[in-house]
């Protein structure tokens, strides 16, 4: 019986689950950003190894691409913050 009442409470009082959802969403956003920027770094390092004299160009392009990917990750963060701080 206590298990049933626990399930009832969990399924009707959904506010804490919303907060947990926000936390999980932020974590997944971080994973996405990490994978994306990691692949940019890998590509950049390999190209520098192939042609060391173009370090400057590769570095600027890498930073631009990293900023764009971080922008997308921050979208997800903003959505999670909205979940946490709005009713």
């Amino acid at each position: 019986m206590s298990v049933l009442s626990l399930l009832l409470q969990v399924s009707t009082d959904l506010a804490p689950i919303a907060k947990m959802g926000a936390g999980i969403g932020a974590g997944i956003a971080a994973i996405g950003a990490g994978i994306g920027i990691g692949q940019i770094g890998k590509g950049a390092l390999e190209s520098i190894a192939r042609q060391p004299e173009s370090v400057g160009d590769i570095r600027s392009n890498m930073i631009v691409a990293a900023a764009l990917i971080e922008g997308v990750a921050f979208f997800a963060i903003v959505v999670c913050l909205l979940i946490l701080f709005l009713k």
């Binding site: 930073i63 631009v64 900023a67 971080e70 922008g71 921050f74 979208f75 903003v78």
Partner: protein, 383 residues
């Protein structure tokens, strides 16, 4: 040497601006002594200030207070004395303009002139009208239109004054030292201006047309960069999170959107409404392709806005969070607080250096993407 400064073209107006700013410092008051006896002795203490003396450290509230805008500029808390600059409140309600200092609100404890600063509930942080008893907010009335000079607006004035001083100085230096090598502030800013011209404007917009957009690109780059940097300085006049205010970034993105739309030539609009090479059944009964293209046109400035806002706000939250760690552990035990301090300060130092880099990168990316949008909007048909 002073005479060389007075010969700067915009010197006296900027001196006026600085004079006005100094006059605002006159409003600094030690707020702790100004609370009237009735608010201090009453049994029911409302508002933040009186109850702050007993509350334990609340990290979330401290962080939110630093991120968000406010009607006073908090400088320091020395002991229990709360030092801050109360900024003017300008309200427009029922056809009347009310201007007064926000110190009259006493952090939300007292109502003044029919208005009150809400500290809890759905209108938290906003100014609401009160009913005749002077305490309960008027639920049915609309909020007064708030044109106040808040902390962000004050920081905007300060950074604009600094920008104008810097650039009017070097403009005059350039006109006075026409065939000489650059000297002074010129040498500091010239490489950055050349960088924007040669690595952002020229490749993205093209040799023939980049000159029209250079003033705007220079303005937004230095505006965003300077405000990001000033947000990192912890004491007055820095420390106001201006570029982390979504209204400010929205205005910057709106300017980019307006300039992009006005510089769009026929090829640009044709690509949006009637994209060449797309089969007719995607455009005619239900214009799917135009809808996708219009969503793309709206999304690009929107992303610019959110990217800058989220980067700056997240950076501030992380820095404040590391500093709060010290106090959270300190509340548990003094020993824990002391031992976590070097770790916390080390992380905060590392994050501050990263935030310096992010300040530059965000200004660079905003300017680069704006230049790319201008280039795409005005490029000749070059398939």
């Amino acid at each position: 040497m002073i005479s060389s400064f007075t010969r700067i073209k915009g010197f006296y107006p900027t001196l006026w601006l600085f004079g006005i700013l100094v006059l605002c410092l006159h409003f600094v008051s030690a707020q702790g002594e100004n609370i009237p006896a009735s608010a201090k002795d009453s049994v029911v203490l409302t508002g933040r200030h009186a109850s702050q003396l007993e509350k334990p450290f609340d990290a979330g509230e401290m962080i939110m207070e630093h991120i968000l805008d406010s009607h006073e500029w908090h400088i320091a808390n020395i002991g229990h004395t709360h030092i801050s600059i109360p900024l003017p409140v300008i309200l427009y309600a029922d056809g009347d303009i009310h201007i007064f200092s926000s110190g009259r609100f006493h952090h939300g404890e007292l109502a003044y002139n029919g208005f009150k600063l809400e500290t809890e509930g759905k209108n938290k942080g906003k100014i609401v009208k009160v009913l005749d008893d002077g305490i309960t907010p008027d639920e049915s009335a609309a909020l007064p239109t708030d044109f106040s000079i808040t902390k962000n607006v004050m920081s905007l004035f300060i950074s604009v004054a600094l920008l104008m001083f810097l650039f009017i100085s070097i403009a005059n230096s350039y006109s006075r030292r026409k065939d000489h090598a650059p000297k002074g502030i010129q040498s500091l800013l010239e490489p950055i201006i050349m960088f924007i011209r040669d690595d952002i404007a020229r490749p993205s917009i093209g040799e023939k047309r980049y000159g029209r957009y250079m003033p705007y690109l220079l303005t937004i780059f230095f505006f965003i960069f300077l405000n990001n940097l000033m947000g990192l300085i912890p004491f007055f006049p820095g420390g106001a999170n201006l570029t982390g205010n979504i209204a400010v970034t929205m205005v910057l993105a709106l300017f980019t959107f307006i300039i992009t739309s006005f510089s769009g030539n026929k090829a640009y609009w044709t690509h949006i409404v009637n994209a060449p090479g797309v089969p007719w059944w995607l455009k005619l009964p239900v214009p799917l392709m135009p809808i996708v293209e219009i969503v793309g046109v709206i999304t690009k400035p929107f992303v610019l806005m959110v990217r800058l806002f989220a980067n700056m706000t997240a950076g501030h939250i992380i820095l404040l969070g590391f500093m709060s760690l010290i106090f959270i552990f300190g509340n548990m035990s003094i020993g824990l607080g002391l031992s976590v301090t070097p770790v916390s300060v080390g992380f905060a130092l590392f994050m501050s250096l990263l935030e310096l880099l992010v300040a530059f990168i965000q200004a660079y990316v905003f300017t680069l993407l704006s230049a790319i949008y201008f280039g795409m909007a005005s490029e000749e048909h070059a398939h």
